[in-house]
């Protein structure tokens, strides 16, 4: 709402001849209004810069139309997301966010390793459970036998089955954690790419300033508005 009002104000200012300060991105045909005014930028007694003028309101403006364009190069969103998906931290390194890249690369490597570890552990626990179950059934089906656990101690078939279930749960958690890390990484990558591409859009910076210099008093009004198009 305020942007619209300010935009209208600026457009009106242009058409009514109100002095403006316009900085362009290299487009030489930028319309601007220019009025020469007398300024005295001599230093006063206290060392501060002093501006002198008559008792009338003065409008100052200057047209600068040879500035280089603001903003950087655009980056490909698809490429960034693909890199982020395939290479740990790739999307962040591609967009120049080294800190995010290292963080997410670490998280992804640890996440993938934990997934592999949980899967291997699940296979191991499953083999122990199946082996214990078959042995108990074969050797003495009427009794709960205690089998020597490779990690130490003895366990029944029920306990091996519990370990097997827990290993399956750990896989589930590992998958969820990896999905969370990958999703977060892609969201951050998307956000960074959007921000980079926004800054890469050619912009015009329009600034309005008006100094009302009255003897003995000074009123300075400055309105600054950035409009990209």
């Amino acid at each position: 709402m305020y942007k619209k009002i300010l935009q209208l104000f600026l457009i009106c200012s242009i058409f009514t001849g109100t002095p403006l300060f316009a900085a362009g991105n290299g487009t030489p045909e930028v319309d601007c209004f220019h009025r020469e005014v007398q300024y005295d930028y001599s230093m006063n007694d206290s060392g501060a810069e002093r501006e002198t003028g008559s008792d009338e309101t003065v409008h100052a403006g200057e047209c600068i139309n040879n500035l280089t364009p603001q903003g950087g190069e655009k980056v490909s969103l698809r490429k960034a997301l693909l890199l982020d998906l395939l290479v740990p931290g790739g999307g962040h390194f591609y967009t120049g966010n080294t800190g995010f890249g290292i963080t997410f690369a670490s998280l992804k490597v640890i996440g993938l390793w934990s997934l592999y570890y949980c899967y291997s552990d699940w296979k191991y626990r499953r083999s122990l459970y199946y082996s214990a179950r078959d042995a108990n059934e074969s050797m003495d089906p009427d009794h709960r036998l205690y089998f020597e656990d490779p990690d130490g101690g003895y366990k029944t078939v029920d306990e091996y089955e519990r370990d097997y279930d827990r290993a399956a749960q750990r896989i589930t958690f590992a998958v969820l954690a990896n999905v969370l890390v990958y999703a977060s990484s892609m969201i951050f990558t998307y956000y960074h790419v959007v921000r980079i591409n926004e800054n890469a859009v050619p912009t015009f910076e329009i600034q309005y300033s008006c100094a009302n210099n009255v003897s003995g008093r000074e009123v300075l009004l400055t309105a600054r508005y950035l409009y990209r198009y």
Binding site: A105, S106, Y116, K123, Y124, L128, D134, D142, F147, E148
Partner: protein, 148 residues
Amino acid sequence: MAFFTVLVLCPFCFCADDPVDRDYFMNPELVKGGAKPAPAPVIAALSENGDYVVVDFTGTATVDPDTGLSTELVYLFYGTTTHPDSAGNRADYYDDYYRLGSIKHSGLTELKVAVYVGSYTGRAYIWMTAHDGGRESDHSNVMEIDLN
């Protein structure tokens, strides 16, 4: 760079064990107690003595096959008011719920034990097993007694 090297090497330092073969536990050495005590105990007679039932298992010759001795055995006594076969579950013979008590072989002077049954009156079914600290033998014969 060093950080990533450590990160990549970590998985090789902390890897899970390889799965075991299907017959891995078919080895009696991996079973607590090794071979189970055998032969099964034998109850020769039951008699009532107040709130106790005297179990005479004189004919029992159960030993632990791993040592060839019976000195480390513990005898477990079970009892129910219905025949354990009636439920059709063989595991009932070894269920803790029916256990009346236990005694070490080394504490016996003769193979005769008085088992407390309280003020119960009626028919009772008694049987026993031997345990070597890891495995339990097959159950003995089931004997019945009418308690007054």
